[in-house]
C-alpha cells in the first residue's frame, strides 16, 4: 500500500504563500481559516542568524492521536495512501481531535465539523498533485509515495538532510523538511 507524504525544501521556499492561497481556493476554505500556513523560524545571535521558512499543514501522521481520540469514528486513516481524513457526516463537533493534534493543524469548520488538510484527496485520486504543490513557483514541494524507494520523495530523503516537526510528540509525521 502506498504511503503518501511530502518532502519540502526549506532552502528553496521564499514564503510567498501561493500554497496558502491555492489551498483556500481549491478547497473552499472558509474565511478566517487556513488548512496550510507559513512558519518562519529564526534562531541564533545577530548577525549570525539562520532562518527556516516552512509551508506547514496537517502531517498525516502515521500514529495519529486525532484519529484515536475520535468518539464517532469520523477521523480516520483513508485507504488512499494512509491519508488522515474526516467523514464530515459522522462528526459530532466534539473537538477532541483538535485538542489531540500537537501541530494545531485542525479547526472547527463554521458548519460544525472538524476540518484540515486532506492532501487534496479529490485531486490525488485523479493522479493530480495537491493544489499547494501545483502552484509553488520555486518547486520546493514534492508529493509522492514514501514507501516506494524509486519515488522522488524517497530519493530526496536518501540524499538530503531532513527533519520533521515535533518528532518528540510521537505522532510520526509524514511531512519532511529538507535543510
Amino acid at each position: 500500500m502506498a504511503r503518501y507524504g511530502m518532502v519540502i525544501d526549506t532552502k528553496k521556499c521564499v514564503g510567498c504563500m501561493d500554497c496558502v492561497v491555492a489551498c483556500k481556493v481549491e478547497n473552499n476554505v472558509p474565511e478566517g481559516y487556513n488548512r496550510d500556513w507559513i512558519s518562519y523560524e529564526t534562531a541564533g545571535k545577530f548577525p549570525k542568524l539562520r532562518q527556516e521558512i516552512r509551508s506547514e499543514r496537517c502531517n498525516h501522521c502515521d500514529n495519529p492521536p486525532c484519529v484515536y481520540c475520535c468518539p464517532c469514528g469520523a477521523s480516520h486513516i483513508a485507504e488512499t495512501g494512509g491519508v488522515v481524513l474526516i467523514h464530515e457526516d459522522k462528526c459530532s463537533g466534539c473537538k477532541a481531535c483538535i485538542a489531540a493534534c500537537p501541530y494545531n493543524a485542525r479547526f472547527m469548520h463554521p458548519e460544525g465539523y472538524a476540518a484540515k488538510c486532506t492532501f487534496c484527496i479529490q485531486r490525488i485520486e485523479k493522479g493530480e498533485l495537491p493544489a499547494c504543490i501545483s502552484v509553488c513557483p520555486t518547486y520546493c514541494m514534492n508529493f509522492g509515495d514514501l514507501d516506494d524507494p524509486q519515488s522522488k520523495v524517497s530519493q530526496l530523503l536518501e540524499i538530503r538532510k531532513h527533519h520533521c516537526l515535533i518528532p518528540a510528540a510521537g505522532t510520526k509525521p509524514q511531512i519532511y523538511y529538507l535543510t
Binding site: 487556513n34 523560524e41 484515536y68 481520540c69 475520535c70 468518539p71 477532541a96 518528540a168
Partner: protein
Amino acid sequence: MHELVNTRHNLQIDPHLHIWGWEIGVYLFLGGLVAGMMIISGFFIFTGRTKNTKCSCFLIPIIALIAISLGMLSLFLDLEHKLYVWRMYLTFQWTSPMSWGAWILLLVYPVLIVNVLLKLPEELYGNFPHLRKISEYLNSSHSILQTIGMISMIIGASLGMYTGVLLSALGARPLWNSSMLWILFLTSGLSSAAAFIHLVAREEEERRMLAKADNSFLIFEFVVIMLLLVGFLTSDQVHIEAVKLLLSGEYSAIFWVFVVSLGIVIPLIIQLMAVNNKIRHTVIAPIMVMLGGLILRFVIVSAGQASHWSGQVFR
C-alpha cells in the same frame, strides 16, 4: 534568540488553543460530583445503611440525576454540531476516552434510576401502586441491595476516572498529559460529593462521618496535586514549561489561592476543628470545597489548552 512566527490565525486555535470554555469545566465538575455521590451513596447502600430511613442515600440519587443531566446539558452546549450528538452512539471506539465516556454516561442513568426507586415519596406510591411493588422488591433482600450498592460504586468510579482520562489522553497538551489527572479528578469529585452530602444530610451522625471522610479526601487530594506538580517538574522540557503555567505563570494566582488554599487547605482546617468539636459544623467549609473543585476544573481545562509543544519545533 529563537523565534517562531506563523501566518495562521484560525479562530479558537491561535494564538493558543481555546476550543473548550466554561461548559467543559462545568461538565467535568458535575461529572466528578455525581461520581463521588454514586460512590458514597453506593457505599451507604452496600453497608446496609438503608435500614435508617433518613439515610441520605435515599436523597442523593435524585440530586445526582439532576446534576448529571445539567452536566450533559453543558456538554451538549459545547458541541459544535449539537443535532449530531447521537453520532457518538452509533459506534464504540475503544481508543477514544470520549467514546468510553459517552457510553458510561448512558449507564449512569439506569443505575441512578434504580437507586431512586429504592424509596419514593408516599404520594407517588399512592398514585402508582406498581412503584411500591418495585421498591419492595428492591428492598426485599440484602443481596439485591448489596448488588445495587456495588454497581453504583463501580459506575461512579468509572465516571470519575473517565473525566480525568478524557484530558490526560490528549498528549498534545502537556499539562493534561499526566496519569495523575484521573486520580485528582476522582478524589476531587469525592471531596465535593462528601461536602455536598454533608450539607443536605439530615442526621448529625452522618454529617460527622461525612466531614471526617471529606477531610481524608482533601488530604489525599492535596498530596495528589503535589505529586502531579512534581511529576511534571521531573519530566522533559515541554512538561516543565507546561507546569510553570501553574507555578509561576498566568494561572498561578488562581491556582494557589482558589484551588489549593481556599478550596483545600482552609476548609480542611475548618473541618478538622469542627470534627474535633472546637467549632460548630457550618456550611462554609463544604461550600468552599465545592467551589474549589469547580475552579480546579476551570484552571486545568484552560491552562491545559495554553500548554503546547511548539517550543520543540526546531529539531
